[in-house]
Symmetry: C2
Subunit: 154 residues, 2 copies
DNA sequence: GTTGAAATTATGGTCAA
DNA sequence: TTGACCATAATTTCAAC
């Protein structure tokens, strides 16, 4: 499936991880290729799935969604009949931007974004807490984001 | 600074959050504008910072970085002399893709990516655990990613 | 990987609503 | 103030080499 990636392929990905909308001409210059082979490599990386997608990253604070909360959720059981409806419910909630099924002492870790603490509290009350199968929720609030990147080291 | 965003501005951001590299012509069609005013709005959103940046999202598994780990870190103190060097060290480690200073029972939550558990263990031993001021580290491992998006609901 | 040409797109000015 | 239209410049894209 994944034919070997050489140094130039990785250079292309490094650039695109930082500037996803860089033009092919400039990308080619930066990785030391002419535009044609550079574009061929980008298409190959896209087709292979190494480049999954391109997205615009918005500034949550500027859009009135400045609060991020981690919610640790325990269900009443780990059987499929309990987990599946929870997972389905979570997938439909756009405020939940991440959900990890954990191996450790809690069932799920959720990352939720909200305008502020009041809004989050309302969201937990009205949505999270009402999902069938939820036993308890413990909220953890970041005071400061030290680092946050979508960049994978390659 | 942030002049009011109307319905079309939000539609533009919704599209760009999903397809960051969509061409202006197609973007314009989708939001019901002709290309010129659409591009003007995009530039405005970029300049205002509502659109922070564009990035390519890579597939970690396809690049041999299939493991994500959450590490909860406690320092020996919360004074600036303890925290500042830790923060600096974390910022330099590309394997740490996220670091949150927590308000709750642990000092920091880190998201670390690694090829596998052995590699993570080595990373914790050789890097994380050796940062000055670190008292203890507790590792939590996701078994399955239920949901993970960069999309902010707007 | 290179070159070059054709098709498409981005861009900015201008006018109209 | 905002959008549509048009002309130009730049880029993308795909041949053939």
């Amino acid at each position: 499936m994944s034919t070997k990636l050489d140094c130039i392929d990785r250079a292309i990905m490094r650039v695109l991880q930082q500037e996803g909308r860089v033009q092919n001409i400039e990308l080619a210059e930066r990785v030391g290729l002419s535009p044609s082979p550079c574009l061929r490599r980008v298409r190959m990386l896209e087709d292979s799935g190494a480049i999954a997608r391109y997205v615009a990253l918005l500034d949550p604070a500027k859009l009135g969604m400045g609060l991020t909360v981690f919610a640790r959720v325990w269900l009443i059981g780990q059987d499929e009949d309990t987990v599946a409806p929870f997972v389905e419910a979570i997938r439909k909630l756009p405020q939940v931007v991440e959900c990890q099924l954990m191996a450790g002492d809690c069932d799920f870790i959720l990352r939720v974004i909200a305008p502020d603490l009041d809004a989050y509290r309302a969201f937990q009350m009205e949505y999270l807490g009402r999902i069938k199968g939820v036993r308890s929720i413990k909220t953890e609030i970041p005071m400061q984001t030290i680092k946050l990147t979508t960049e994978i080291p390659i």
